[in-house]
């Protein structure tokens, strides 16, 4: 005999324990990740995330294929430095920062969710923390994913770092570099996107922040003769240079070929920190103004 079970109990009082703010933040984070990646949404919402993922993973998969096919020939000139791996998916990261990440906050303002969220135990800071966590988690897939995939493939092919300690060091540096790049682009993207509640305008704002400033800085350095150290304000090159410095290297762009002078590492880190602080600052200021219902 099967025991009867009542499924429709109807609306009733809740006697259990309510979860706190931490659970609310996790819930919004997961909800936003699903929204960003288009999960549970119509096909058209999955187009950009899929394009970004393909662009991000294609180079690593290419190197992986080469490593499998030509093996030892890859060693040396053909094998990129680990920090250079971040230069490959950078187009994907920029696409993500421009087209996908703004959706995390712009949509909530447009469709009234922000107003509802702020009527729950969430506050503007905890709401933004949830949104940052969601954007960073999603972005980490396209930043750290290809690099770690390449490291794993190299290791399997016997082309990876020598010894376990070296392997761990490279893995840690990859993760640290990924983390900084993700925080950098998340901060810039959300900061720029916070100036509007229209997705298209938000993308334009992110483009202006990334490419507009980059163009101005590079013209100043290359054509007007401004000091090369000004490149630390170039949002397209300074995060990659930071990754290079973490690996103890530096890129050609940050070296003066005439004098051989290299832009100091402290300045590179300072430029990265400045951009992150600016992104957070703009975001915090915008939500301080619009935070109250």
């Amino acid at each position: 005999m099967t025991a009867a079970e009542i499924f429709d109990r109807g609306y009733r009082k809740f006697d259990g324990e309510r979860a706190g703010v931490g659970k609310a933040v996790r819930s919004v984070t997961w909800h936003t990740i699903r929204s960003i990646l288009g999960l549970g949404r119509k096909g058209r919402h999955k187009v950009f995330p899929v394009i970004v993922a393909i662009v991000a993973f294609l180079p690593s998969i290419g190197f992986l294929a080469l490593a499998v096919l030509i093996g030892d020939l890859m060693e040396g000139e053909l094998q990129p430095e680990y920090w250079e791996l971040f230069g490959l998916p950078i187009v994907a990261v920029m696409l993500f920062a421009t087209l996908v990440a703004p959706e995390a906050i712009v949509r909530d303002r447009r469709d009234g969710m922000l107003r509802l969220y702020l009527s729950t135990p969430l506050t503007a800071p905890t709401y933004l923390a949830a949104k940052f966590a969601a954007v960073m988690t999603s972005m980490a897939i396209v930043v750290a994913g290809p690099a770690l995939l390449y490291l794993a493939a190299n290791t399997i092919q016997g082309l990876g770092p020598d010894g376990f300690a070296n392997w761990l060091e490279v893995a840690a540096k990859l993760l640290l570099s990924s983390g900084i790049i993700v925080v950098f682009f998340a901060a810039v993207s959300l900061g720029a996107a916070s100036v509007t509640d229209r997705r298209a305008f938000a993308s334009v704002a992110v483009l202006a922040a990334l490419f507009g400033v980059s163009i101005v800085v590079n013209i100043s350095v290359e054509s007007v003769g401004a000091p090369r150290s000004l490149l630390v304000l170039d949002p397209l090159s300074v995060p990659l240079e930071t990754a290079a410095r973490i690996f103890g290297e530096n890129s050609d762009g940050f070296t003066d070929f005439d004098t051989g002078e290299v832009v100091p590492t402290g300045l590179v880190y300072g430029g990265t920190a400045l951009w992150i602080a600016a992104g957070f600052g703009v975001l915090a200021d915008r939500y301080r103004r619009i935070g109250a219902v």
Binding site: D8, Y11, R12, F14, G16, R18, A19, S27, L116
Partner: protein
């Protein structure tokens, strides 16, 4: 902590630049359904924002469910539901996911949130429609979804900002009946803001009336609206009894009643309704005047605003 009043405010003031949105409000909102009435710009939404802890007031104090909204915002907002005025919701999200997600954010365990979202949507009459995307729903259905998300996490108090905005009369009646039901059947206190006085008068136990940020009136609905002790008697001047209306007026004044005359209409006020009615009957009979109609005057919510000092 037990509380007698749901919302209590003293000297509550909110200043936006040179504009004073709330002006030294002293409020006591009791349990039940309370109507927060006033024209657009009266300060209703500002008061709700302060009550939810979304804005600090410029001065004065407020407690909601015995908690300070600025200091205990997270604790307070886990037991307060809110239905915003703006009728925009995520277009491509199914109603059940929307209500479930907000129930989780308000502190419901994940395992409980799904069931409660479903129960709340059934309660508001959207059980069969709960998997439909919000963008495909009518204005009336969206208002029901907003009500469902406000109650899904079993709040003690629900703040509803213009919940009948954009609805036709039938839909309005249904939403008002639902609001009455969630209070009567489930003991959820409701603060309902509206600029439509008639609908508030129909379902609310208590009233808080604001005008340009100032408190116009507050208290139980029954004490603010309803029959008065003033009776309007309309008489007919006939050829056989010239001057009968004047004579009736004089008799009523002689009996010590307050009489105001407008053509053939006499507005008679006494200490109680029966005294006025008896006096009118006796005066009309004595003067053999002809009475067209007798109406007991009634105070409406609108009178609270028209009679309020400027």
């Amino acid at each position: 902590m037990p509380f007698v009043t749901v919302i209590s405010a003293a000297g509550l003031t909110m200043q936006f630049g040179s504009q004073r949105a709330l002006d030294s409000l002293n409020l006591e909102v009791p349990k039940g359904v309370t109507g927060l009435v006033g024209a657009n710009g009266a300060g209703k939404t500002t008061l709700m924002s302060i009550a939810l802890g979304l804005r600090p007031s410029t001065s004065g104090t407020i407690t909601v469910l015995g908690l300070d909204p600025t200091k205990d915002a997270a604790q307070l907002r886990s037991v307060v539901g809110y239905g915003p005025e703006r009728n925009v919701l995520p277009e491509d999200m199914p109603a059940s996911d929307f209500v479930k997600h907000l129930a989780e954010v308000r502190g419901m365990p994940k395992s409980e949130a799904r069931g409660r979202a479903s129960d709340a949507l059934w309660l508001v009459g959207l059980g069969e429609e709960r998997f439909r995307a919000l963008g495909t729903m009518s204005t009336g259905q969206r208002q029901r979804v907003k009500l469902a998300q406000a109650i899904a996490a079993d709040p003690s108090l629900v703040l509803l900002d213009e919940p009948t905005d954009g609805l036709d009369p039938v839909q309005r009646d249904e939403i008002l009946a639902l609001i009455r039901q969630i209070s009567a059947d489930y003991g959820i206190d409701v603060l309902l803001s509206s600029h439509l006085l008639e609908e508030v008068e129909r379902i609310c136990d208590n009233i808080v009336a604001l005008d340009a940020g100032r408190l116009v009136a507050q208290g139980p609905l029954a004490s603010l609206v309803g029959d008065t002790t003033t009776i309007t008697a309309e008489l007919v001047e006939i050829v056989e009894r010239p001057g009968a209306v004047d004579a009736v007026e004089e008799r009523l004044r002689a009996a010590g009643l307050d009489v105001r005359r407008d053509l053939n209409q006499l507005r008679v006020t006494a200490a109680d309704q029966q005294t006025s009615l008896d006096a009118i009957r006796d005066a009309v009979a004595a003067e053999q005047a002809r009475l067209r109609r007798v109406v007991v005057d009634r105070t409406t919510l609108e009178d609270l605003f028209t009679e309020a000092p400027a």
